[in-house]
């Protein structure tokens, strides 16, 4: 039998419920593994063993009773304010009970640590943080993805079996793709968000699960949604594909793995693949960036920008100041583009059940220089990654990244997007794909990070 900590989230919960595993032992094992493996990947930035033990002592008999999880540094806990990965997050914070915290607590889960994240949630790479960068367990010299870098790295390194991330412009799906995990970006408004410092103003951010496979995402997602995400089937799945830079301007190995996975999914569901058109996609990408950046500026004043914490990275300081210059009329246009994209998607989802394209155009780039080589040339990872991640945040639809391959020893992810409220279908489709490839990719585990040879 595997070490209990290596079991899937749902099997940990079942083993505890059956009395086969003692929850206190599992918590101790998680804390010990964090101590052992975390120094090489910097996924977990805070642990609080006494608080975790108090949570366990008070844990109700919920679906995650006694199961250790990690939560991103984006929500307050009753004993710790979030830092948003930054020395200065331009918002007042204080310890408190956030929606995801309450959902986890009421499900009986035990929060064992706080996950690292990219500074201010502002990148798809995870290579900048007030805590230092998190590292990809598949290769510690590579980006883990962002902004939910720590939650993803923690699950990939099997410090825990499930973690809560947040996705405002791809921030769950990018690290899921880079770290070989399954990550669900829920339909907007469907998952717990109370207590997030931007919950009242953001129209793009959602909380969501990062786990090894779709079954675990279903369980942790059900907890965050406050309702059971029932399993169905994906038979007869109509898969939409697009011939655009999002699926064409990608590294050849990524393209091949994703096309192969789409064919596997089609065959497994006895479905069909249909070509679709999304002419608004390029405009939608910028619109998402404009909206997400503008919504984060509510607390900003010139005086505040002139007095940023000097520990905030130069990148963070420069980007915050640049955001002030984005023209208001462009943001107005961005809302119009949102309407156009939502209407187009409503039509598209009459013809197909899911839209499929690579989560990321290339495997995880180096931490020191996050650039990717694509057929069109060399691009910053952020500029390339946002093409595929933004649409779901702009329009509110759910999306999932599932592992479908490997290149240079680094994972490749396929993204599936569905119509509003069809989060369950995405999980059904992901499970169908897992069956089709005999769970090869969801069961792939990186070597312990400390044993990985680093690049010269």
């Amino acid at each position: 039998m595997s070490a209990p900590l290596d079991l899937p989230l749902r099997e940990q919960a079942a083993a505890i419920a059956a009395g086969d595993v003692v929850a206190g032992d599992l918590l101790d094992a998680a804390l010990a593994r964090i101590e052992e493996r975390n120094p090489a990947i910097n996924a977990v930035v805070a642990t609080f063993p006494e608080r975790s033990r108090e949570m366990l002592a008070a844990a109700p008999a919920g679906p995650l009773h006694g199961v250790p999880v990690v939560i991103k540094d984006e929500w307050p806990l009753p004993w710790r304010a979030q830092r948003f990965g930054a020395a200065d997050m331009l918002a007042k914070t204080a310890p408190g009970e956030s929606g995801p915290y309450r959902a986890l607590r009421d499900a009986g889960a035990v929060i064992v640590g706080v996950g690292n994240m990219h500074e201010l949630g502002a990148s798809s790479t995870g290579n900048v943080s007030v805590y230092g960068p998190a590292r990809n367990p598949w290769n510690p010299e590579r980006c883990p993805g962002g902004s939910s870098s720590g939650p993803a790295a923690a699950v990939a390194a099997r410090l825990v079996a499930g973690a809560v991330g947040a996705d405002g412009v791809g921030s769950i799906r990018y690290p899921a793709g880079y770290c070989g995990l399954t990550g669900l970006k829920p339909t907007f408004g469907r998952s717990a968000m109370d207590g997030h410092h931007m919950a009242g103003v953001s129209t793009t951010i959602v909380s969501g699960p990062l786990c090894a496979d779709a079954g675990d995402c279903r369980l942790l997602g059900s907890v965050l949604f406050g309702e059971e995400l029932r399993a169905g089937d994906a038979n007869g799945l109509r898969i939409g594909v697009i011939e655009d830079e999002v699926s064409a301007d990608v590294a050849p190995a990524v393209r091949e793995a994703c096309e192969s996975a789409i064919e596997d999914l089609r065959a497994a569901t006895d479905g069909d693949v249909r070509r679709i058109e999304l002419p608004e996609l390029a405009a939608a990408t910028l619109a998402t960036v404009l909206i997400a950046n503008s919504e984060s500026l509510g607390g900003v004043t010139p005086e505040r920008l002139n007095n940023l914490d000097p520990e905030l990275s130069p990148l963070g300081r420069g980007l915050l100041k640049y955001r002030l210059m984005l023209p208001a009329v462009a943001t107005v246009k961005a809302y119009q583009v949102r309407t156009m994209a939502r209407r187009r998607l409503a039509e598209v989802f009459e013809e197909v059940d899911v839209i499929a394209w690579p989560t990321l155009p290339a495997v995880a780039p180096p931490l020191e220089a996050p650039l990717v080589e694509l057929p069109s040339g060399t691009l910053t990872a952020d500029a390339a990654n946002v093409r595929g991640g933004a649409l779901a945040n702009l329009t509110g639809i759910p999306a999932i990244s599932v592992p479908v391959g490997s290149e240079e020893g680094l994972p490749v992810g396929l993204q599936l997007q569905a119509a509003w409220g069809r989060d369950e279908l995405l999980l059904d489709a992901a499970e169908a794909l897992e069956r089709a490839n005999e769970r090869r990719w969801v069961e792939a585990v990186p070597p312990p990070a400390s044993a990985v040879q680093t690049e010269a």
């Binding site: 408004g189 469907r190 129209t203 910028l286 984005l326 462009a330 939502r342 509110g396």
Partner: protein, 67 residues
């Protein structure tokens, strides 16, 4: 600023107008951001959206209402 992409003019002028200070490193970051964001921003501004009435207070958890 004919092509709308002259960061050396645009960024210092905008900073001065807002009364925001920046050091050399921050300016370099802003120039890089401008290179990345400004061309698509101009494309977005050039998009004719006169016929598009944006949804008022859209419910992003649902499909848009049928027109």
């Amino acid at each position: 600023m004919e092509d709308g992409n002259d960061a050396d003019d645009f960024i210092p002028a905008a900073l001065a107008a807002f009364g925001v200070e920046a050091d050399e490193i921050e300016l370099a970051v802003m120039r890089a951001a401008h290179e990345l964001f400004w061309p698509p921003t101009l494309e977005l501004l050039a998009l004719d959206t006169s016929a598009v009435a944006a949804e008022r207070d859209p419910d992003l958890s649902q499909a848009p209402p049928r027109r």
